[in-house]
Amino acid sequence: MGASVAFWVLASIAVLAALAVVLVRDVFRAALSLILCFLMVAGLYITLSADFLAAVQILVYVGAISVLIILAIMLTREVQRGSPSNRFRLPAFFVAVLFFAGIGYAMLNTPWQISSTPPLEPTTPAIAGLLFGEGGFILPVEIAPLLLLAAIIGAIVLVREK
């Protein structure tokens, strides 16, 4: 019961925050809503017993990504004229709704093979095993830093002065 309550509370706040991101006029407030949404998602991870992932979610999304976004908002504050919509607003809305209907239909009508096993706890050693252990995802783990490095260098090159 408690888990249900938690889910409903977290989910509704998350959806509201997400709506705020796309609807609020003030960009800064939109960014704050985004942070709120991220936090709620972290909470949802906890209800899914992914505690490690929840911490990482906060660390990466709240601690780094949103801060970067806010920084960018700050740096471009001279041209911030709120958060207006373009002329595709209506088609975009329909596409979104149709898309939602499509995948929603798919999700509800797929016979998922739900396992009744209780979830693994704690997850941290298991994830470490999966990431670094034998037969795990060691290659992607090694490629990921490469990607990050490329991103960092790319970002530096892009914003470098002259």
Partner: protein, 362 residues
């Protein structure tokens, strides 16, 4: 995160435990913050050949309380062009994570609100939220000094998080667990001896993350008046102030837990040991504040990226190698080795490392 602490269904006896502990910790943190504010002012004053607050109560102990009272009844001002809602929310957002950190700080053997198996990761994650609060404060004040302060804060937090986390990983490797309680349990030798370099880096990085001298650029009073504080008054200012000192207290507690053996110690009761060690670390912070000048923003960045970051990586590498290759050797063997490594690395880097003498080219 706290799933394994939760019973199958939430309501129940467990709530009592949580509520009592949560309230106790809240009270403790607020009390300690006030005491520490007083402590800092006194220590700083004595080091500066002054006396410091000594009027309100015995030895001026109630000075912080008096200040808090004064702040409570002060007028609350919001800048006319500012963002009222954000301005109001900012102190809360800045303060709440600070209190949350204490949930996983082990005060005693059993005295911990939640012994998470990802305790230290939790701390790192939660503490990064404070930056958002500070940024909100800076933005909503719509003041140039505040904006500058907030930008400095963000820049320093984002860059200092990396060496801090990396130096913590060394400790985690040694303890073999992310749980704070287990880290304390693993410290038959205080990790400051096993991880001298890690301690140094963590301490440096932590000082920068909580904006204490010499990295207090965010509120550098001689440059940008009070940074993101500038437009705050009344209890909102009080909350931000509390958050600042709460962070300092938290960092002291974390350093104590990670490197100084936490509540462990002979003779005295564990709780006292914990307080003693926290006080000691806090005193060192104050001591440093009393002595050194402030860095410039680009030097701060250079310090993080050119000095702390590579050293943290090397420290991690060396620690990992030691654990991997000599798992059976007594840890005492590593004490001199690691000290030697620290000295060599710091000397090497000091030699190679330059942070803009002249004009800044970032």
């Amino acid at each position: 995160m706290a799933m394994q602490m939760l019973p199958p269904d939430w309501p129940g006896n467990f709530w009592a435990h949580w509520a009592i502990f949560a309230v106790a910790i809240l009270v403790f943190v607020l009390l300690m913050v006030m005491v520490f504010i007083w402590f800092e002012r006194r220590a700083l004053a004595v080091m500066q050949a002054r006396l410091g607050p000594n009027r309100a109560g015995p030895f001026g102990l109630f000075q912080s309380a008096a200040d808090a009272l004064k702040l409570l009844i002060k007028e609350d001002i919001v800048p006319a062009k500012g963002d009222k809602l954000v301005h109001w929310l900012a102190p809360v957002v800045a303060f709440v994570p600070v209190v949350l950190i204490f949930a996983v700080v082990p005060f005693w053997g059993g005295a911990i609100l939640a012994d998470l198996n990802i305790g230290i990761l939790y701390i790192v994650a939660i503490s990064s939220v404070t930056a958002v609060g500070i940024f909100m404060a800076g933005w909503s004040s719509n003041n140039k000094y505040s904006t500058l302060g907030a930008m400095r804060q963000v820049a320093s937090v984002v860059s200092y998080e990396i060496p801090v986390v990396l130096s913590v990983v060394g400790v985690v490797l040694l303890a073999g667990s992310l749980s704070m309680q287990q880290i304390v349990a693993a410290q038959d030798i205080p990790f400051i001896l096993l991880q001298p370099l890690g301690f140094l880096l963590f301490f440096c990085g932590a000082l920068a993350e909580i904006n204490r001298a010499p990295f207090d650029l965010t509120e550098a009073d001689s440059e940008i008046v009070a940074g993101f504080f500038t437009e705050y008054s009344g209890m909102k200012f009080g909350l931000l102030f509390l958050a600042e000192y709460g962070e300092a207290l938290a960092i002291s507690a974390i350093v104590t837990t990670l490197f100084l053996g936490g509540w462990r110690g002979p003779l005295l009761p564990p709780f006292l040991w914990f307080l003693l060690k926290v006080g000691l670390v806090f005193f060192v912070i104050v001591w440093i504040r009393a002595t050194v000048p402030r860095l410039r923003i680009d030097q701060l960045m250079a310090l993080a990226w050119k000095f702390l970051f590579p050293l943290a990586l090397l420290n991690l590498l060396i620690t990992a190698a030691e654990i991997l290759f000599w798992p059976a050797v007594s840890l005492w063997v590593f004490v001199p080795i690691n000290f030697a490594v620290m000295i060599i690395l710091v000397l090497l880097w000091s030699k190679f490392f330059k942070l803009g003498w002249g004009k800044v080219e970032v």
